[in-house]
Amino acid sequence: MVRLIAKSPSEGILPFEVNGLTLVELDVGPITSVAPFDGQAVAASDRLRALAGMELPKPNRSSGREGARAVWSGAGQAMVLGVAVDAAMRQHAALTDQSDAWAVFRLEGQGVEDVLARLTPLDLNPGVFKRGHVARSLLGHMSALFLRVSGEAFEIMVFRSMARTAVHEIEVAMKAVAARKALA
């Protein structure tokens, strides 16, 4: 029988490199939004720890590590990336499959903050926005989620439907930063 072929949000337009900076699409596996019900935040967090060894993150923070991560994504809400959240958690939190809703990028390289400074009003100075820090903000005109995963790398999540615009805008910023560097 014919099977349906899966396509990633940025199929065919990533990855690319500009002057040592790279933009790649990540397949982070399942993405589940977890929103604990009234009075269930601790129980939900305990359940997640038992399942994947990480707690539900505090506002603007993430927990876990690459491959199994939870990122804060709004008031009373987190996204669990990379691990399937089990049904036993359902009694504590609203679980919603978001695996196909997001395009996830990794922007990496020296001066990555300079590129992002053209796209988001967030203060991403390393002393302010440290590894593991998370923020919901704007990427251009798009709602996005930013996560610093290392000194020179960020993961950026945008709505799947906006992947092309996001990639285009990041590329324009990468090229502009590269052109400036060439000038100096």
């Binding site: 949000p9 939004s33 809703a101 400074a117 799947r160 906006m162 060439a182």
Partner: protein
């Protein structure tokens, strides 16, 4: 003329550029103005109104005269200040606001009639006949008076916007700014130092002055090295801070690629939004011009500019220089020029007790009362000791003292304060929260004072941040303050210009006062003083001093006009960077986008989304042909359409049902699991907000759909309702619009099509009308909803978005084998109008449930948002315009949406308006046009004939009122 060995230009790097088609050579580091002066070009433009020949007045951003068009073709930029633009290889500049060559501007005829062109002339003269203003007077006047022209095409150059963050922003890099930045950085703060020009150092680069025994420029180099060493200072040259905004946000314009012939990716400019916890304003001061008769000829410039051209660019603007001053500073110009062997023909100082600083003729207590030279200065006339005397000169430097550059402190409504000691305005204390002015912009004119104040201001900022205060040593420097005595106007024959950029003279100011425009704000608008690109930087204080004199008031009593951002002209290209063309908004693409484009569908915007309008087939020449075919095809066989753009909201929790009962007018707690119900929600004011279907997937799990346009609005509404009205309800919701690719499969063969793809076939029992549930489609877990927006037997099938492209292609291919195919927005719209289903064309925010005939959907058994407000008087009754259907009477070609409805015998005027048409379509099913609209007491007028009038499109016709449901009113097809 270039002085060898002087200036900071790179004499090793020659640069060729052109001005008005003439080729010239400059050096790296030159501005357009300095390079032209070095080439002996003094005539650089024509004045705004009188088209008088003008040369460069200043050496900085405040330049009012030397405005040029730079670049060519679509990328041409007008009103570029030659004093700011640096030369680069291939630079093309043109003079502007002229008719014919610059030297023989035909419009200079205006200068022969200055009495006719004084302030207020246009208002008084061109009043009658009234119609002439728009058609004749204004175009002619605009042609004659003005600035440079835009190309009229899209500028292809790249511009950008960016954000920056710091603890302390230091604005200006003269002695004050450098000391402030160093203190702040040593105190542990992250600092941004913004400098307007290409080099840090401010006036220290324009003067022959020592600090700590070193030449000023060398000292600057040492401080810059120290700043870099701290690793805490971001040095931003070519960056002008343009405005102070709320909560420590500052706008700044950086000239990134305007000084090079760079690659296309290199932005020309960057508009920064800098967020600073504290800021130090070290913007310095601008020299005050003197108002004396005929003070505007090319060759007359600011004395400080003469020094800037000499020390920064190694250029002198003349061979026989004179000076007219009210202070000691200007005398330094004479000393510096003589040191280079330039002939100084005299210094005229209005102060009787002035002392010469060198061996040059000094006319203490003298005044310049006239000048000569049509295209460039050749002679001045002075009055000294009661006698008049002529002096031959080709360059006159003038100085009336200094005005603190305090503009930024007024951006949040602060009013400057008069300081009698310096006879100038200084910033009001704490005019901008977190911004500390220091140095010359605060009225401190000595270099020593500036150095000390820079340190103090930074310490104040550090204290506010709770940081440590470093031990700072204040460098040794001159404590001379210039000793300026004010001289506002030199009396004599001829016009004395105040605002060079807008051609405003002292007479204009007096005329304004005489005609009762005595408030400084009225004077400004009457004379246009201060309204040119330089925003009165050179003329404001002089003008208001003359206004004060003319109205018998003191200067502080007269006050200043309001300094607003931006401090310098900012190109729209920079402010709107990234927003040209498609950059205006993000584009949202459905998973079926490529497949639709492959089939030749024109994509039309629906909010941020793009959806296929129709799918043309060979032989079809108009959209209507495709649309009619798609409707017929769908109603007779099967059609497929991507409906993923509709908002989808996942709602879970023990109180999910109660929450929906509160949000929707109708009941959802009674909905059975596995069923879908149409719902209507109201705003708090009782008007219809949105509609859609909501499916119950589990006991405490629903998925709501919204219209495409209102998806964000509804999400916001739900958040508001939960947080503010019903925090007691234990419910969570999140958008899943992006998670699911959802396609409607419509028509009598829809089930047949689906059963070809579903892993387990469905029938009318397992999936009855308004049923829903999980399905497996070609091995993928999906959801199926039996709902219809067309009146046909129809389904919506949803799969995770990654499979959207594949499923859509499968559905369309299968549909085609069944005699169907893809349909677009046009066909979708026709089918919903045929069925009488509403969209936001109908529920446009002004209609109630009653108006759309859904009053009974407001459940009497419960409370919901908007219910009480919907009961208000006036929102129900015969006077309301209510939803009706419209069909043509007789052979009518077209109905138009937006038309209004009138009684057939009534005049089609506002007072007789009975309603309006919201949606129209040609119905291929019925063979004629149909429409939906709202008519006063409409449902009771079915069968009546009214008049449809579209004043915009010139359509007038008769229509019959009918039920809004045109096909299958019993709904038999839906259940088939």
């Amino acid at each position: 003329m270039r002085i060898e060995g002087k200036g900071r230009i790179d004499a090793a790097e020659q640069i060729r550029f052109s001005f008005d088609g003439q080729r010239y050579t400059g050096f790296k580091g030159d501005t357009l103005a300095s390079a032209l002066l070095a080439n002996g070009v003094r005539l650089m433009g024509r004045s705004f109104k009188y088209h008088r020949p003008r040369g460069v007045l200043t050496a900085g951003a405040e330049e009012p005269n030397a405005l040029m068009e730079v670049g060519r073709g679509a990328a041409k930029v007008p009103n570029v200040r030659a004093t700011v633009q640096e030369v680069y290889a291939g630079l093309e500049a043109h003079s502007q606001n002229r008719m014919g060559p610059l030297a023989y501007d035909l419009l200079s005829v205006n200068d022969l009639f200055p009495n006719f062109l004084s302030a207020g002339f246009y208002y008084k003269t061109f009043m009658w006949p009234r119609a002439f203003w728009e058609r004749l007077y204004e175009p002619v006047i605009r042609r004659a008076a003005g600035l440079g022209a835009l190309s009229g095409r899209h500028n292809p150059d790249h511009y950008e916007k960016a954000f920056a963050h710091c603890d302390i922003l230091v604005i200006g890099s003269g002695p004050t700014g450098l000391m402030a930045a160093l203190t702040a950085a040593l105190g542990g703060a992250d600092v941004i130092l913004a400098e307007e020009t290409n080099e840090f150092g401010g006036r220290l680069l324009s003067e022959d002055e020592e600090i700590d025994g070193q030449p000023g420029a060398d000292w600057v180099g040492g401080i810059l090295a120290a700043l870099r060493e701290t690793g805490r200072v971001r040095l931003m040259s070519r960056t002008t801070v343009t405005g102070a905004y709320d909560q420590g946000t500052y706008g700044a314009l950086e000239r990134v690629g305007l000084h090079v012939n760079g690659p296309a990716e290199l932005p020309k400019e960057c508009f920064w939004r800098i967020h600073a916890r504290q800021a130090v304003l070290a913007a310095g001061a601008l020299e005050r011009p003197l108002a004396f008769p005929m003070n505007d000829r090319p060759g007359i410039m600011m004395a400080s500019a003469v020094r800037s051209y000499l020390h920064r660019y190694g250029v002198v603007a003349g061979r026989k220089v004179t000076l007219f001053a009210t202070n000691d500073d200007a005398h330094r110009t004479a000393v510096d020029l003589m040191a280079c062997g330039i002939d100084v023909a005299g210094v005229v100082d209005s102060r009787p007790d002035a002392k010469a600083l060198g061996d040059y003729p000094l006319y203490a207590g003298g005044e310049v009362i006239g000048t000569k030279g049509r295209k460039a200065l050749s002679e001045i006339t002075i009055r000294h000791n009661g006698a008049e005397q002529k002096i031959a000169t080709d360059c006159l430097g003038m100085s009336g003292g200094w005005n603190p550059t305090l503009h930024m402190t007024c951006h949040m409504n602060g009013r400057p304060v008069w300081n009698e000691e310096i006879t100038g305005f200084v910033p009001a204390p704490d005019a901008v929260p977190g911004l500390t002015p220091a140095g010359a912009c605060q009225g401190t004119y000595s270099t020593a004072g500036c150095l000390a104040e820079g340190v103090e201001a930074a310490k104040r900022a550090l204290t506010a941040l709770g940081g440590k205060l470093p031990e700072m040593e204040i460098p040794q420097a001159s404590d001379a303050v210039g000793g300026s005595k004010p001289l506002w106007l030199v009396k004599g024959k001829g016009r004395a210009w105040l605002d060079f950029a807008n051609d405003v003279t002292s007479k204009d100011i007096k005329l304004a006062a005489q005609e009762a425009f005595t408030s400084v704000e009225h004077m400004k608008r009457y004379t246009t003083q201060g309204m040119a690109p330089d925003q009165g930087k050179n003329s404001n204080i002089g003008a208001l001093a003359i206004l004060a004199d003319a109205t018998g008031r003191a200067i502080p009593e007269t006050g200043t006009t309001t300094y607003r951002p931006p401090y310098v002209p900012v190109s729209i290209a920079a402010i709107g960077a990234g927003a040209q063309g498609q950059g205006f908004a993000p584009e949202r693409f459905t998973t079926s986008h490529d497949a639709s484009v492959d089939r030749g569908a024109p994509m039309v915007p629906a909010g941020l989304w793009y959806r296929p309008s129709y799918f043309p087939r060979p032989g079809e020449t108009t959209w209507r042909q495709a649309c009619d075919r798609e409707v017929t095809m769908t109603r007779n066989a099967v059609g497929v359409c991507d409906v993923s753009t509709l908002g989808k909201i996942d709602i879970q929790g023990p109180d999910a049902a109660a929450f929906l009962d509160f949000v929707y007018t109708n009941m959802f707690s009674t909905l059975k699991v596995g069923k879908v119900r149409y719902g209507l929600m109201l705003r708090e004011d009782g008007h219809v907000m949105d509609d859609g279907t909501t499916a119950r997937l589990g006991e405490s799990h629903y998925v709501m759909t919204t219209t495409t346009a209102a998806a964000g609005e509804v999400m916001k509404h739900l958040d508001f309702v939960q947080q503010c009205h019903r925090p007691d309800l234990n419910v969570r919701f999140i958008s899943v619009t992006e998670q699911w690719a959802q396609f409607s499969v419509v028509g009598p063969k829809s089930r047949e099509l689906l059963n070809g793809l579903l892993d387990a076939p469905i029938d009318n029992e397992s999936f009855p009308y308004m049923g829903c549930g999980d399905v497996s489609v070609m091995g993928v877990q999906g959801r199926l909803f039996r709902i219809s927006f067309s009146g046909e037997h129809a389904y919506e099938i949803a799969v995770p978005a990654r499979y959207g492209d594949a499923l859509y292609r499968q559905l369309v291919t299968q549909a085609e084998t069944l005699g169907g195919g893809a349909y677009g927005m046009e066909a979708l719209n026709v089918m919903r109008i045929e069925k009488g289903f509403i969209t936001h064309s109908e529920i446009d925010g002004r209609v109630t449930c009653f108006d759309i005939g859904m009053d009974r959907m407001v459940s009497a058994k419960k409370m919901c948002v908007g219910k009480p407000a919907a009961q208000r008087e006036g929102l129900k009754g015969k006077h309301r315009q209510q939803l009706i259907g419209l069909k043509p009477v007789g052979a009518v070609k077209e109905l138009t949406a937006g038309a209004h409805l009138f009684e057939t015998d009534a005049a089609p005027t506002r007072v007789n308006d009975l309603g309006y048409v919201t949606s129209v379509a040609f119905s291929p099913t019925l063979g004629h046009f149909i429409g939906l609209g709202f008519l006063q007491d409409g449902p009771n007028r079915v069968g009546d004939v009214v008049k449809l009038v579209d004043h915009l499109r010139g359509v007038e016709t008769r229509v019959e009122i009918c039920s809004p449901v045109f096909i299958d009113p019993e709904g038999e097809r839906l259940r088939g």
